[in-house]
Subunit: 267 residues, 2 copies
């Protein structure tokens, strides 16, 4: 039963194999044993052993008391460098917004065909929600995603709406024609709303954050409980105010690193 080595092609290059090992830890955060890593990557056990050993020595992976591997702190430190200025600038402003609204607020950018949550501020009182920092959600099913999509260039929108749209809940809008109309309305009004489209029990609203160089850079979102779905718009003034301040502070730093990578064909 354990021969589910559903591995396509063990990459030819060593670099590829190393990165493949790291990829294993993207799927879930659970620590893995050497054997599990070997099975999931399709690499020979001795090869896995050597590569994982080097990764551990450097600090990219670390072992827990049971000898299982997980992502190491050194990699976390390194990752903090990516987009550091932007997050450091936006964070206190997100906090201000949280203080004003007492609702979970977050900021997301488009990464290929998904919304990537780059920061979030929330209180101890938990609201059902799907987003997490460093996590991704579909563009069409979230308020931030709709904003990102609505204000992006037409060909991006076309490419994403052409793909099959995943339905996360019974309420997810998945009809491309209807979505296109909805996005036009988002542009017109300057905000987007999603009610229980990605997770039952929660509703969200989002506004765009534009870049100085033009074009949309990120989206600022707010999450509330289902019951507040009809009164979300009352948060708009605060959200827009904070969005403007983020735009002003971020200044020259580009939010979106690049549009779409030319190398990897499909969006």
């Amino acid at each position: 039963m354990s021969d589910d080595a559903a591995r396509a092609t063990p990459p030819a290059s060593v670099t590829g194999r190393v990165l493949l090992i790291l990829s294993v830890f993207e799927q879930s955060l659970a620590p893995r044993s050497l054997t599990e890593i070997s099975a999931e990557t399709g690499l020979a056990l001795s090869t896995t052993h050597r590569l994982v050993g080097e990764l551990e020595e450097w600090g990219a992976l670390q072992r827990d008391p049971n000898g299982r591997y997980q992502i190491g702190l050194r990699l976390w430190e390194l990752g903090q460098h990516a987009g550091r200025q932007v997050r450091e600038i936006a964070r206190p402003l997100l906090q201000d917004l949280y203080s004003l609204t007492q609702r979970t607020v977050h900021i997301a950018i488009r990464e290929n065909s998904e919304a990537l949550y780059i920061d979030r501020v929330y209180g101890t009182r938990r609201v059902p929600q799907a987003s997490r920092v460093g996590g991704r959600l579909p563009l069409h099913a979230t308020a931030v995603g709709k904003v990102l999509l609505a204000f992006d260039e037409p060909w991006v929108r076309d490419a994403i709406l052409a793909q099959p749209l995943e339905s996360r809940t019974p309420l997810t809008h998945v009809d491309p024609v209807a979505l296109r109309k909805e996005l036009a309305l988002v542009v017109e009004r300057g905000f987007a709303i999603a009610v229980e489209e990605v997770r039952e029990g929660s509703a969200s609203i989002a506004v765009p954050i534009f870049q100085r160089t033009g074009g949309i850079g990120a989206a600022l979102g707010l999450v509330a409980e289902r019951g507040e779905a009809d009164s979300l718009e009352r948060h708009l003034p605060a959200m827009r105010g904070i969005a403007r301040r983020i735009e002003a502070s971020v200044g020259a730093f580009p939010l979106r690193s690049l549009g779409i990578r030319p190398t990897n064909g499909r969006l």
Copy 2:
């Protein structure tokens, strides 16, 4: 003039070379050109080109509009997995503490011989400070560091106090004998203070966060301006309350991943 390839030994293994390239970006966050990476690592340009190319394709690095490389978002995402639970649990509590005190607050753990800042909450009103998330500072010169040192096992304290202690400002305490007394006082009183020891103009106070399994796991710190140095202790009740709540919430998750890596000899 460009032969300052102050590189010790280009590592034999490909994995080592790949990690060496990533290490370049630990030093500073500035984006680098291919040639710079090649020079800093001591790897041949064509080799660098190929490895960097693979890293970029995977998303570990990304290029800015000028073609320079920096840490990629995929690496950031991956890094978010390290210690995710702990940060997600602690974050809202840090925010509560910030709301209560209106001062920058942070949480740090000991990583080898330095304090590693794993999260921080701060407002728009900036105070001079040295810490940043994902950054490190010396244990002996910070309030959190003193707490981490004071409550750790004796042999750790001995090892660190045996090394030469860096002086960040004229006020840094660097005398091992005096420090040892200071740390004893920290244990007795249950908190540590550092006034302008790491950065002029700022003072900080910290309390320990213990692990359920026993031993110190992290330190909770608060930063204020120099002028408040004498009244820092008034924040203690709030800090201790939040520290207790973090301890309760963190529960079984180990804060410190491991004590000290056995492989890399020196602490």
